[in-house]
Symmetry: D2
Subunit: 354 residues, 4 copies
Amino acid sequence: MAHAPHSRIKVGIVGGTGYTGVELLRLLSQHPHVELTAITSRKEDGLPVADMYPNLRGHVSLAFTTPEKANLVDCDVVFFATPHGVAMAQAQELLAAGTRIIDLAADFRLQDIATFERWYKMPHSCPDILAESTYGLVELNREAVANARVIGNPGCYPTTVLLGLAPLIENGAKLVDTQTLIADCKSGVSGAGRKAEVSTLFSEASDNFKAYGVAGHRHHPEITEQLEKLAGGKVGLTFVPHLVPMIRGMFSTLYARIRPEAMDTDFQALYEKRYADEAFVDVMPAGSLPETRSVRASNTLRIAVQRPDNGDLLIVLVIQDNLVKGASGQAVQNMNLMFGLPESAGLDQVAILP
Amino acid sequence: MAHAPHSRIKVGIVGGTGYTGVELLRLLSQHPHVELTAITSRKEDGLPVADMYPNLRGHVSLAFTTPEKANLVDCDVVFFATPHGVAMAQAQELLAAGTRIIDLAADFRLQDIATFERWYKMPHSCPDILAESTYGLVELNREAVANARVIGNPGCYPTTVLLGLAPLIENGAKLVDTQTLIADCKSGVSGAGRKAEVSTLFSEASDNFKAYGVAGHRHHPEITEQLEKLAGGKVGLTFVPHLVPMIRGMFSTLYARIRPEAMDTDFQALYEKRYADEAFVDVMPAGSLPETRSVRASNTLRIAVQRPDNGDLLIVLVIQDNLVKGASGQAVQNMNLMFGLPESAGLDQVAILP
Amino acid sequence: MAHAPHSRIKVGIVGGTGYTGVELLRLLSQHPHVELTAITSRKEDGLPVADMYPNLRGHVSLAFTTPEKANLVDCDVVFFATPHGVAMAQAQELLAAGTRIIDLAADFRLQDIATFERWYKMPHSCPDILAESTYGLVELNREAVANARVIGNPGCYPTTVLLGLAPLIENGAKLVDTQTLIADCKSGVSGAGRKAEVSTLFSEASDNFKAYGVAGHRHHPEITEQLEKLAGGKVGLTFVPHLVPMIRGMFSTLYARIRPEAMDTDFQALYEKRYADEAFVDVMPAGSLPETRSVRASNTLRIAVQRPDNGDLLIVLVIQDNLVKGASGQAVQNMNLMFGLPESAGLDQVAILP
Amino acid sequence: MAHAPHSRIKVGIVGGTGYTGVELLRLLSQHPHVELTAITSRKEDGLPVADMYPNLRGHVSLAFTTPEKANLVDCDVVFFATPHGVAMAQAQELLAAGTRIIDLAADFRLQDIATFERWYKMPHSCPDILAESTYGLVELNREAVANARVIGNPGCYPTTVLLGLAPLIENGAKLVDTQTLIADCKSGVSGAGRKAEVSTLFSEASDNFKAYGVAGHRHHPEITEQLEKLAGGKVGLTFVPHLVPMIRGMFSTLYARIRPEAMDTDFQALYEKRYADEAFVDVMPAGSLPETRSVRASNTLRIAVQRPDNGDLLIVLVIQDNLVKGASGQAVQNMNLMFGLPESAGLDQVAILP
C-alpha cells in the first residue's frame, strides 16, 4: 500500500469552509508529500480560498470549486470536512475509482448503525462501506489504518477520552472499575464549528463557562463503542462536556476507580510504556499538570496521571488541540499511515506559546 | 411635564431580545420609579424573559408578548430596542395615545431624510414626527429632551465622539480646525448585537483586532450632522471604527489640530468646566488615561485630555460602556428627564471591576 | 442583637487593595445601611481609593489609611480582605472594643488548628477566638451567623461544593455514597487575586485551560471539615480545581453515587425544597444547565441537578461569581444577618449579561 | 559573507526566558540551517527549557545554562532576548571572537546616544559598536543587514509604522505632509513581556481596552529617527499606543495628509510596487481590511491602504504578530540575510486561524 516515492499524493478536500477545512489547508499546504488538487464548496464556487481565510494568502492559491468540477476521482485521497451524511453519499463512487476517503464527520465513526441513526437522525446509506471502514485513531488501530480505504476520523472528545483510558482497560487489563468511569471534559469554542449561531457568539461565549449536552451528546456513544471494544465488554461512562472561553484546546479530566487487586499498579510507568513509541502522545513526568496552550496548533496530545494520596481514584488529565489532534491533524496522521509516509510528515509544528 | 409623584411610570419595551433589550430590563427592573408593563417579541411570544436571559431570573417575571397583546398605548413611554424602521411604523399611534417614544434604533437620529434613506436603505415613513423628534444626547440637548415626545437615542460611537469634541466647537468656539478631525474608535463586540453572524463568533472575534467600515459607517453621517449643528458650519471628520475582543466597552481616540490663535487655551480646564455639572460625564485629572473597564456596566462616560509636548495636536480619549451610556443607560437617562425624575434615578450603579 | 434602626453601621475594611477589597467597596458604597468609615493599606496610605480603582470615582471618596489612623475599634464591624494571618493578629483588640469581625481570609475557616497550621504554614495565634468563631455560610449556619462576633467567610470553592452537596448528606440523609464524592471545579482567574505573578498574566492564562492543585489545595480540608460536620462522619472527596480564562465566575461539577436505597428519590424536588426560602440560592428547573455569566456581579448561586438516564450517578452543577457569593457578597450577607438587617440589603443587583 | 553550505549555523540565545526567547526557540528549533548550541539564564541554570515552556517538549532538549558555561564565543551568532543594556555589555567580546550579534532589546536601535540615554536611563557603554551597528529592518536596509556584524532588531511598533509609512516619504517622495503624521497603534498584551506585573494580569487586561504611554513611549524616538532618515529631514509624528485584550497581534492605523501636488497619486499601486518583491510584506488588494489573526504566529506583515472619499487623508492599516515580525521572526530574518541563507528559511509557517 506504500505510496510511490518521489511523487506527491493528490489530495482533495470536500467542504473546506469550516474550521477543520482551513486547518487541513494549513497542514496540507506545507506537507512535503502532498499536492492539493481541489477544495470544494458549492456555495463559494470560484472564491479564492485565501479570500475567505486570509492566513492562507501566499500559501494556497486554489479557489473553491464544485464537486463536479473538482474531479475528485482523480485524487489519491479525499478528506470530507463536511456536515454528517455527505461522505457516505459520495463514498461508493470514490472507492470505485480507487480514491481513498478520510471523513472528519461522523459517517464512519459508529459501527452500530442503529446507534448512528438514533444520534444523527438520518439513515446510513452505505452499511457495507461502513463495515469495512476503520476508526482512525492510529494509536489504537495502527495496523488497520495502514490498510484502510475508508477512515472515520474520531471526534475530538473521543480522542482524548479513549487515549486517556485505553491503557487501563485494553488487552484484558482489569485495573479499574469499568462501570463507573467519568469524563469531565472541557472544549474550546472552535469545536462548535463556524456556523452562525447565537450561542457561540463572542458576546455569549466570552467570559463565561457552562456545561452542555449533559442529557446526551453524540460523542458519548462513540466513546462507549470504542471503550467496549477495548474492554471486551460493557462499559459504564458518564460524560459531561463543558464550553471554555478559548478558541482552541480541549481538556479532559478522567476519573476511574482502581480495582482492589490493582492498587499496587505503577500507573505512571504503565502510561509511559504504553505510549513510549508514539510520536503524538506525550506522557508527562509524574506530578505534572498539563495546560492546553502547550499543544496549541500542534498534533501532540498530552497525558498526566494523578493519584491523590495514593488512593483508589485515578485521575487522568488529557489535553489536545481540538482542531489538530482532535480533527485535522489526526486526519493527516491517518493519511500518512495509509500512504506509507512517515507518520509525522507535515505534522512536526511546535505549539504556539504564548 | 413632570411626572406625578408617588406613582410609577408605565414602561413598555418593543423588541427586547437583543442586548439593548436585556440591558434595558436590567436597568428598568431596578428603577425606583418604573413599572415594567410589557416587553414584546413576536417570535418569542409567551417565553418568560428570564428563560432567555437567566440573569433576570428572580428579577423580571414578565414573559415576551406580541405588540397587540401588549397594549402599548397604555404605557407612559415605550422603548424601541428593535431593528431600524420599527419605531417609525408605530410612532403615530403611540403619540396619538399620549405615549412617549424612545427609539434605540436610527429612525429618529438623522434629521436629514435623504441621508437617512441613503444609509438605512428604506424610506422614512413619518417625516413630521422626525421633525419634532429630539436627538437624545442629554448633555447637549437637555432642554429639548425634557420636553420631547419622541427621542432618537444616539448611536454608541456618536455619543463618545460628540461629547469628546463638543467643548472644542460648540457655541462659536474656534479652538480647533474643524476640517481635519479624526476619530479612531474601538468597540467591544456586543456593539454588533445578538444576531447570529459568522464575523462575531467567538472563534472569529476573540484574540483578534480589526478595522471595519472604513469606507463608510452609518454612525459617520450621524456624528457629522450633530457636529455641524454644534459648529454652525461644515465639518470634516475621518471616522475609523475597530473591533476589540471584549464584550462591552468603547474607546474613542480623537485627534484635533489646535488653531494657532487657540494655542494658549487650557483645555483641561475647558473640559472640566464644560462637564462640571454632569452626573454621567467624568473629566479625569490631567495626565490620566482611561480604561474601558472603569465604566463597565455603568452609565458613566469618561474623558481624558492629552496634548503631547504642548504641541498643536489635541488628543481626547473617551470611554463608555457601549450598552449603557452608549445605548440603554442613555435611553433611561432620557426617560428620567422626560418625566421630571432625577436624572440619575436607576442609573447609579458602580462599574464592575475587575 | 439587631442594629438600631435609622442609624448606619460603621464599617471598616482592612487591606482593601485586592479584588475582594474593591468588590466590598462596590457593594458597601451602595448599601443603604452602611457608613464606610475607613479602608486601610499601609503601602497605599494617603492614596484615594478611586485612584487605584477608577470604577469607584464618584462613588467612594475615602483614601487608604494606616490601621493606626483608621481607628478601627470605633467601627461596628471590620472586614479583613487581607492575606491569611492578619485578622487573627487584630481580632482580640477589636472584639474587646465590641467590634465584630468578618474575615475573608482563612484565619477562621478551619476549626481544626492542626489542619490550619499544616495548610497555611503558620501558627494560629488565637485558638479561643477561633473556637467561638462561626463559619459564615448563611444557608447552613443562619442561626449561628446571626449571633456571631467573628465570622470566617468561606472560600470560593467551598461555597459551591457545600451548597451543592448539603441536601444530599445533611440531617442524617443517606442519599449518596459519601466516600466517593468528586468535585471537578473551574474558577475564573480573579480567584487568584491581584498579586503580580507570571502564572496569572494575561498572556499566560488567556486562551488556555489547566488544572492545578490536584495534589492538594487549601480549600480541600475546608470543604471536608464542613461536609463531615453535615454528614456526621468521615467523608471522602476528590477535589480537582481548574483555571478558566475568564475574569469572574466559578463552575463546580459535582458527582455523587446514589445509594441503592435512595434510587427513588426525587432529587429535583429535594433541592427545590431545601433552598425554597433562600434569597441567594436558585435551584433551576429540571433539565437546566447553568452558565457562569448568569450570576456575574450578583450574589446569586445557581444549582442544577442532573441524573443522566435516571442512573445511579447524580450530577450537581453549581455556579457563582467567585468574588460575590464566593467572597465579598457573602461577607456582606453575613454582616446583614449579624446586624439584624434584611439579608439581601445592598445585594439585590441584577447580574450583568452580556 | 555567505555561510558554508551543508553546515549549520551555531546559534546561542542569551536570556531566553521571556516571550521573545521562547519564540526564538520555536522558530530556530525547526530552522533547517541552525544548530541551537546554548540558551542562557542565570536564574534558571540547569532547568530544561521544555520544563518552563512545555510547548517545546520533544522539540528542544537544551537546558538553560549560565553565560559562562555557554561558551558563546563559539557561536556564529548570538541573539540577545534580554533586558536593555545586556547586549552592549557583552558585544565587544563576542565581536572579537568573530561572533555576530542580533539584539532584540534597544541597545542598538537608536543611533543618537543622547536619545538612547534619555529614554533608557542608562549610559551607552559601546558607542563605537553602536556606530557600526545596523537597524535590522530588512525591507529598508537589506544591503546593510547582509553585511552587518551587529543588528539592532527593531521594536514592534516601529516595524509597523516604518513599513507603513516608508513608501510615502522615502527616496525624496513628497507625497504627504511629514509634520502631521499620526500613528494610532494597538498591541496585544504579550508585547509587555513575561514580567510579573499587576497591569498585565489576566484580571486587569482582559475585557478591557486602554491607551498608555501617550505622554511618551520609547518607541517614539526610534520611529522618528528612522522616519527622518528616510525623509531626509525633520518629521512630526504623534504616536498613541493602546493595549488590546489579545495575546499576540499588533494593528497600526496610520494617518497622513496627502500633499496637494500628490492628490493624483495611485497609492495602492505605489505600495504594491514598493513591496512586490518582499517575502514578508503583503499589500492587500484595494478595499481590504486586515485583521491581526491573519498573521498570528507567522512572519508576515500585512498592509491595506484606504483613502475615504478619495479625499486628502490617507489611512494605512498595518498588522503583524508582535512576537514574530515584530520581534523574533524579524530577528531570524536578519540572521538569514547575514549568513547568506534564503531570507525565508525557517519562516514559512502559515498563520494560525482560527
